[in-house]
Symmetry: D2
Subunit: 148 residues, 4 copies
Amino acid sequence: MSTRTPAHSVHVHETTVRVRYAETDQMGLAHHTAYLVWFEVGRSSLMRAHGASYGDFERDGFFLPVVECFARFLAPARYDHLVKVRTWVDELKSRSLTFRYEVVDAETGHVLATGYTKHLCTDREGRTRRFPKAWRALLETEVPHEAP
Amino acid sequence: MSTRTPAHSVHVHETTVRVRYAETDQMGLAHHTAYLVWFEVGRSSLMRAHGASYGDFERDGFFLPVVECFARFLAPARYDHLVKVRTWVDELKSRSLTFRYEVVDAETGHVLATGYTKHLCTDREGRTRRFPKAWRALLETEVPHEAP
Amino acid sequence: MSTRTPAHSVHVHETTVRVRYAETDQMGLAHHTAYLVWFEVGRSSLMRAHGASYGDFERDGFFLPVVECFARFLAPARYDHLVKVRTWVDELKSRSLTFRYEVVDAETGHVLATGYTKHLCTDREGRTRRFPKAWRALLETEVPHEAP
Amino acid sequence: MSTRTPAHSVHVHETTVRVRYAETDQMGLAHHTAYLVWFEVGRSSLMRAHGASYGDFERDGFFLPVVECFARFLAPARYDHLVKVRTWVDELKSRSLTFRYEVVDAETGHVLATGYTKHLCTDREGRTRRFPKAWRALLETEVPHEAP
């Protein structure tokens, strides 16, 4: 895979999430699956910032199932803390897409986790499809940061 | 609502669940929403014991959205403990259905929680429908306990 | 229980939540347990608006386990929609506390769900305790609405 | 990392999980984070099969936080289907441990997902520790398959 820090030309989208009590486990920290849900919140927010909801993508008959996910956990996130999810498109191919993520403590800026998810573009029946042009263009557009 | 203990004539279905680590929170106990998921596991298992999956119900074009849920928590469930979910049909009306539940410690038999969920029978568009006869008959049938 | 609409004198706290993809189920709607997690987000946010995190409450050695929860679902919430969670303290007793909630569509203002959670004040060992005075005072204070 | 199929000498532990309704999303399939929870169920079950609960490990003052997780999704899991989680210890070092997983359709035997989780052995304060000898021995022991 490519490098873990975004290239200069890549737009990094930021959104913030507050750690929920339901996301903690008996270790007293956010459960590792919570970060993957935040990754999902990050890419949802990125798509919204590009002017379209992933919900519209599905209404158009296309889907982006996760075919691979990876996360490295560097420091714990705790209940009620604010974390920033930084999301960027790492590889936009004709039929697949990789998002990369950094979760940072919103107060200290410390990186808590990094990771990526790889997605296929499919139709409703799960068959791999080329990205529709409009969506491809949309994901390639530079956009300003969304307000939280 | 009717009483909280099943009438003599009512079939009580039992299934067992082991508390997952992901279901705990920083209080060191199973999060209260986990019990509602176990209720759902209980009614899924009850329907399977009646010879049909709730998945078939949806494939037939019917749905049972939850319109009301209630739970009372009496004692905590902890990671890795086995709990028994006792489920029974409390009220089967023409267009709605109430399931009742008891979650008990599988080792001690202590009741950990009780509750109910009320469901409407709807079609795919969310319009209320009469239960199809076959499904009604199925839910009224007496069945032996399912093996875990 | 008391009425479902807040009394005139009661402060209603508002916070907004965006429906996550992970919170949907195969019915295409937010799963009913997601609303209970939003209730939790609502009371966490209410406590923060009163100047203290529930995390501080736990660090002081006190806990607010849920002993009862109820929700009525009136209309579905869908992926990526914004919902407003309205939370208020309904009954603050010496050893227990009831929060009430309304989840409304942030765009249309339609009520999607109502409910309540009842909590005991306990120590770390789960023994019922009187609310510490400072916390009691805090929960009785009138506060302005928190910015989202 | 090492190969994705277990070496001949490695004990592979099997446990079964039924896909819960709450684990599905609006794509109509099990959400990708559900597989990571099943991985956790798999390693919990493996440890129990070795004669000790991970809960005992924590009571001894040791913890196994996830520091890395990876999953590849090959075919979807659907509501109410039975899946088999195959878990094995891939690398047991002095202060870390890697579990590997295969999730297979219990009926057809098709592999639905593969993955791994890497864990550090820490104390309650999150400091890295050597595995206690007893636990190390335990994880190295050959054990028969656990009944479901």
